[in-house]
Symmetry: C3
Subunit: 665 residues, 3 copies
């Protein structure tokens, strides 16, 4: 477990650099990320490079034994470039060409932009790839941030057509995949296809899904193009790009496959504020925590997604360590909170925590963002906290040497997520929110949870939750079947198998390709208005109340017993009265369950307590609200996100955890 | 009363068609609407037609004795057309040219588009007009849906000027009509006139009203252009276009005048959800009904508008029969609800109910919309319900042979509606909402109500309500005067006569041209903030409380008695203290009343109970909330929109109506 | 104190003018503003003038001894001009060229527009400047209204670059001032600089501040250009433009410096409704008053800003006298309210009140706006009220002969305001709202308050409040230092000195340039989320509770006593526990206080009661809620904005004030 910091030598006079570098080292910092927004400083005019300052900055840092992650600066093309080649500018879904003056104003597929990106990245890599202090490369910065994941420029329009040609080969195949017999949408020529913006009403959902895929692939290519440049100079150095946790506009499974290392930027208060609407449905109770810690469920959910990308430890490339500047209130952070976040990251699988940023900037957009040093260079509260963590660093390092060993996994697929996003059917139905209900329930139960792709190796998990595998795929159904036959427990949920991978509806009985595995079929499905509740009954302790949001009435092909189906919950009133709501089937060494409604958090807790016990998955502890538990190697880590002392019994031992404090057992 | 269904043979393999057709016939279906989105399938390339599939589909349907309504496909111009002639695309009020990829992406006045529309409609009519199974034509689909009623393209800019030239002949007349002496707006040349979008602040309200009229006329012409093509081949076949009930962007009086048959698309849960904000003012209590029936007041109000267009029975061309896909929750529908909607339509004047749709689509935008068959072709719950209605069909047919005979009418004029929409003066003041208060009151009282144009024959009504005839017109004033003198009771309301037909203010004493008829003048009018209430007193039972929203202080020219004015309500406090609030005057054989405030629903109930009694209009029954009554011929129909049994005494007989059930007496 | 009225002879037949003029005179009107929207009537075609009508209108008015303020008509360029020269049209921040059809559709820097404006203003001035009845000129109308203060057209893009060249001389200076080392934003050529709209995320705050300054300067130049034309013909006639009170998009200090007279347009109900969100933070309690008087705090705040521009009496150029047409409810106004507003204006420093408008317009956008006469020419209620004020006019005149003599001032700087607006850091933190809390507290205490620029002469004030002088400037710091040394009490507040004038952060200890004056430094500052409260303790009576919104922990360089610091409030809990929250330092003859949090209104009342007493500033009276007090000369004026009688003791005398009435003592 190493500490690092984001540093911008280009913002400060060179004579300050050595002071900063020395302070960093003394405070226990080992890693420094630099240069990811310094294109203009490196190449102040087209083809004219200035390296002296960066050479010197690297030397100064290296002199203090600091290890450097270099960022390629493509997230911020300079003024001269935007001015001379306006075709590189992103066009938004309203058809407006956006302007220079902030960052991320480029189109990732634009050929002119590739040319210029190639020159600056190439020159940079050539100069620094072999430098002994340079231990890694970050590509670009926060792909897709500020709603830039999808560009609607003419280059994208062309590239999208090319992408479609490759995918479908002939136009009839595309017409079939998109279901263009509807509303007279069939294409007789590739040239007729446009981007799905500015349509009169909703565009074709299959076209939109393909456009999302194309857009993600555009970044994947842009990333690969930079990886290739780096690899040409250094075949081994770890390459990453900094992700954004639960960000959902790009397919992080694809992007991470091409990278050596997963890193992400963790801003707990910002995420809790700005992204909470994405994670909790309107009207859903939001848990309360100490006011300045953010929402540890949201933070932890992102940690879990990041760990799951490679089922391996990750880095925090930007860790909040004081107030930020881009949320609603940007509240001041109290002593202790930064340490709590650091432990939370470590407990969730981080191997390094790089804090953002060294010193608060005097300039431009992030003036109000804090750093370890204040604007006037005096140490901020977080700097004291950093120093106070030094005695713990050895323990942290030993924990970081371990893997996570979750026995429960939740399946996340970006295509499924997009399908629901494009057609939620019931407003406020979001795939992310749906997964998050199950995740929170597991957190409350003290059960470590992985979040992984359905295509990853699931054999290490005793229990796999697939709340909604909407796009059914025969191969995926087979893999999951094998998982069950080999002894796994699989809970498949509502809307699964409703569609084919091209986002058309299946004409099979639901759950479509998964029907043979489940051996029940969905006889009817209802989205529920907030006024409708379909009462449930179950023998599972605590699993009661009613189905809300979404309900499916299940039926076994024969009488349940004859079909080998155990009915774990049924409807007890309403239009589905008497129908099955939750079924289980033994298959091979494992169990295939179908979950016919969208559970409340409390229902999910009851259900998962039961399933965990059945699947022999242990709970780390009985946890009061606000106390979270994680396990890394043999270390159980208790983290208190509340303002009062909380307690739990861990391995027969009663443990008190002070407010916003941590205990390792 | 016939049942029908919307069917899309182009979405399914030909071998399926005969199965479907046979199922339809066996389920009691007689009418099938087809082809209204199949332009691309009929004309896959410019001037190249493919009719085989449609020939065959028609034969298969006809073979089951099904009668066919053919839709012209102009609501969905194909990709090849949009691509080759982008000038046909609609431009929205933001100045953005919209794109191919959904539907309704055309400008209705665009000459190029007319050319292409002429070719496809002509070819289609030529081929099928004489087919014995084809019993009607639908033109286009849902004119104006998705905010397409008004286009802001260059063709429209030109056509608007031409339209103005015809209306005003010389530019001085236009300047006078628009009051362009204000803010230096006078035009010295027609060329200077632009569309009223993208102005800095509100555009000229007279110009906007003319633009609304022009836009409605543009669809009227586009409709006529298609009518002419059909009539050239078949002088008698009934022609319709499917309206949208309380939709207010087009003048349905004009459009229906040119058609043989009024039809509309009824989606009760969708309307209750998506349009409720248009019907109820913010803060106004919204009635509660069973959760899946929609709001029968909103549905019934649309039925009444549709019946009133021709004062004759109409068809439902699309009747919801399960969950839809375009509202907020798209909730599942319970058994019984589709039958309740069918009876409601019948009781409100429908002669045919064509359900939407036969089978849930696997493709594109409406994937999540239900049908009689599920995606996998299995019968959905609504199909069982359709079959269960067969025993009732004979009774339904006998009721459908009768007319409605409402004795009370509410006057609706689209120009008045637009005038208020353009300048509500008090935010949330909407003409539709205002009429709807009176309508709901009459529904609660069990008094059948027509909604008709002020220009229609009113002689059949004992009581006519004109809540707000804002654009005063001498001829209209004379007609209403004759109506009163001939024995009618006319209640004229606030804001009446405030303007001239060109949307300028009158310089006459208010209510302007209606002043002589009422023999009172409005001395002062106040919009009321939510904090202001002007107390009222009246001898009419139950008519009490205070004026809210809008109040006018009336004065008779002489003392009330000398002027022949009876004061039915007065202000009892506030700045209008002592002034008249509601007056009545006997004139000829009838009565002219002026209503000086915007009533609450309860006030409207008290007032209308009184006026109905005075005018000898009977009530069908005393009705508990949620039980609605209608009368068609001699049949009184009670419909229960609640989840508990409700009762009423009808013609001396106590009738219980089960939840979501119907009784005919 | 004179009464006036806004009149539009061009809207009415010439034969009506003399009737109107006579009625005006008889009702006590002395001033008439005309012609400010009559460009088209004066110049119906390019270069073709028609003066007859205006000659005649002026004669008719002059014949009744009415004095005329002539408006230049540049706020409403005619159709022929917009049509022939579309380049004059404003482009909004979305990049859309806006259209003719309302008003203010021009770009203030556009050279073509200047040419045409020059011709019409020149011709008008030449003709009427010497007319004896013409006593003043108004330039244009409500600069910046309808969000027109900032234009994004190509001409502005060019002019902005020119403006920057003048300000910064060389591009390096600009790069430094804007902190363009951040995010690769440095410019190597002036040509690369664009307007700060349509950026991907927030644009550079220094660039935005300069763009705001440039935009304000553009109007300043456009105003000066017209002043020069008028001055060429009449070196003395008073020139004004009508301001909009608390409008914040233009620098009124700059604009008023170039004018002879400050005038503004006062619409109390409109401002209370439409601008309340700008004045009160979400969640902040809004005071209740009689429902039709508006919010006298908001009205009074604008009066105070207007008086403070020149520290001299102003005119109301448009005074609401009935319902308006542009707010949410446009409620009817009761008898007495217009008189109350008139007195409020007078008591706040108005020397003339020109009512808007003479007669309600039959035409176009303002049809629903009331006037002294109704649409049908009958006198409206406000006309009676005008006549009823005649007996008071003598008293009003004697009061108007006096100055205001506030002893407390609040400092307002538009650059500070914009800096906070561009980066509020904490959402809902608004400079205007912040000042308004202090203003309301002083109103509640009955302490007359000036609102002035920090650069104005402060010597007349005993107590100066500077809640947030965010952009620190050495010269300003020195001036304030002198003010204190000369005996003044200065309360400086949070965020002061955080930035330099170019909107970069200072690298000095906070409060930056003001630190030496305060002799305390801000050790930490926290924006507070709504969940966080930092408890306070203080010996000042009533000053208790907690810091919310924003808190700063202050520290003196040495122990407080040694540093000469008196700690008036401290934190008593939370992360700043024990730190100073409010300090005072004696310096020379005066006192320098630093206020470390954003007070609630009640905290501000307690604090200011204490400070006023210390500074020997008297309170006019103990005032119940809704009773406001002002002092002009020796007259204390009590104004009751409630619907019940309220009382106060003034100069030992018990005074009852009837609802919506006024008492002068």
């Amino acid at each position: 477990m190493e500490f690092g910091v984001c540093y911008y030598p280009e913002h400060w006079p060179p004579e300050r650099w050595s002071v900063d570098a020395q302070m960093m080292r003394e405070a226990g910092i080992r890693l420094v990320r630099i240069a990811e927004f310094a294109w203009q400083q490196m190449e102040p005019a087209e083809g004219h490079f200035e390296w002296d300052w960066l050479d010197q900055a690297i030397e100064v840092l290296a002199a203090q034994d600091l290890q450097i992650i270099l960022g390629t600066p493509t997230a911020a093309p300079p003024a001269w470039l935007s001015h001379a080649y306006p075709e590189i500018l992103l066009v938004d879904s309203e058809g407006r060409q956006r302007r220079f003056g902030s960052r991320r104003h480029y189109c990732p597929t634009q050929p002119t932009y590739h040319q210029h990106a190639k020159r600056i990245v190439g020159a940079m890599v050539e100069r620094y790839a072999q430098h002994p202090a340079v231990v890694g490369w970050q590509i670009d910065n926060e792909f897709g941030d500020h709603e830039t994941a999808r560009c609607y420029c003419d280059a994208c329009s062309n590239q999208f057509r090319t992408w479609l040609t490759k995918r479908y080969k002939n136009i009839d195949a595309l017409n079939y995949a998109w279901g263009t017999d509807f509303w007279s949408q069939a294409y007789s020529d590739w040239e007729q296809i446009e981007l799905p913006n500015l349509t009169i009403t909703d565009p074709n959902p299959s076209q939109v899904l393909d456009f999302y895929r194309y857009s993600s692939d555009a970044y994947l290519q842009f990333q690969q193009f930079q990886i290739d440049i780096i690899r040409a100079h250094d075949p081994k150095i770890p390459i990453n790009t900094n992700f954004m946790g639960n960000f959902a506009d790009l397919n992080y499974h694809d992007l991470s496959n091409a990278l050596d290392l997963v890193t992400w930027d963790s801003y707990p208060t910002g995420y809790a504020d700005v992204h909470a609407w994405r994670m909790y449905a309107p009207g859903e109770a939001r848990p309360e925590f100490a006011y300045d810690v953010g929402d540890p469920y949201i933070t932890g959910f992102s940690h879990a997604i990041m760990y799951g990308l490679k089922q391996a430890p990750f880095w925090i490339m930007e860790q909040q360590c004081g107030n930020i500047n881009w949320s609603s209130y940007n509240e001041g952070i109290r002593p202790g909170t930064t340490r709590l976040w650091t432990w939370h990251a470590l407990a969730s699988g981080a191997d390094a925590v790089v804090y953002f940023r060294w010193r608060a900037s005097l300039n431009a957009q992030e003036q109000y963002h804090s750093g370890f040093l204040r604007h006037d260079a005096s140490p901020a509260q977080a700097f004291e906290e950093l120093i106070s963590m030094q005695p713990e660093q050895e323990q942290m390092r030993s924990i970081a040497a371990e893997q996570l060993n979750a026995e429960v996994a939740i399946l996340l697929d970006y295509n499924d997520l997009w399908s629901v996003q494009i057609q939620p059917h019931r407003k406020d139905f979001s795939h992310m929110r749906h997964l998050f209900v199950y995740y929170r329930a597991l957190q409350r139960l003290g059960i470590p949870t992985a979040i992984v792709s359905p295509d990853s190796d699931l054999s290490q998990y005793k229990l796999v939750l697939a709340p909604s595998l909407i796009l059914g795929d025969t191969q995926r159904a087979e893999l999951l079947g094998s998982y069950v036959e080999d002894g796994g427990s699989l809970l498949l949920g509502i809307r699964s198998g409703f569609k084919t991978p091209s986002n058309r509806v299946t004409d099979l009985s639901l759950p479509g390709v998964f029907q043979p595995l489940m051996n029940v079929s969905v006889q009817d499905w209802h989205a529920l208005s907030p006024k409708a509740q379909y009462p449930l009954k179950s023998h599972i302790a605590g699993l009661n109340g009613a189905a809300t949001i979404w309900a499916e009435r299940l039926e076994s092909n024969a009488a349940a017993e004859d079909a080998g189906i155990e009915v774990l919950a049924s409807y007890a009133g309403g239009p589905f009265d008497g129908g099955h709501a939750l079924t289980a089937r033994s298959l091979g060494l494992g169990k295939a369950l179908y979950m016919g409604w969208y559970p409340t958090e409390d229902q999910a807790v009851a259900l998962l307590a039961h399933l965990a016990q059945e699947a022999d998955v242990p709970r780390l502890a009985e946890l009061p609200h606000g106390l979270l538990a994680a396990k890394r190697g043999e270390n159980t880590i208790l983290m208190n996100f509340m303002d009062e002392t909380l307690s739990a019994d861990v391995q027969g031992k009663h443990v008190d955890v002070a407010p916003r404090d941590v205990q390792v057992i």
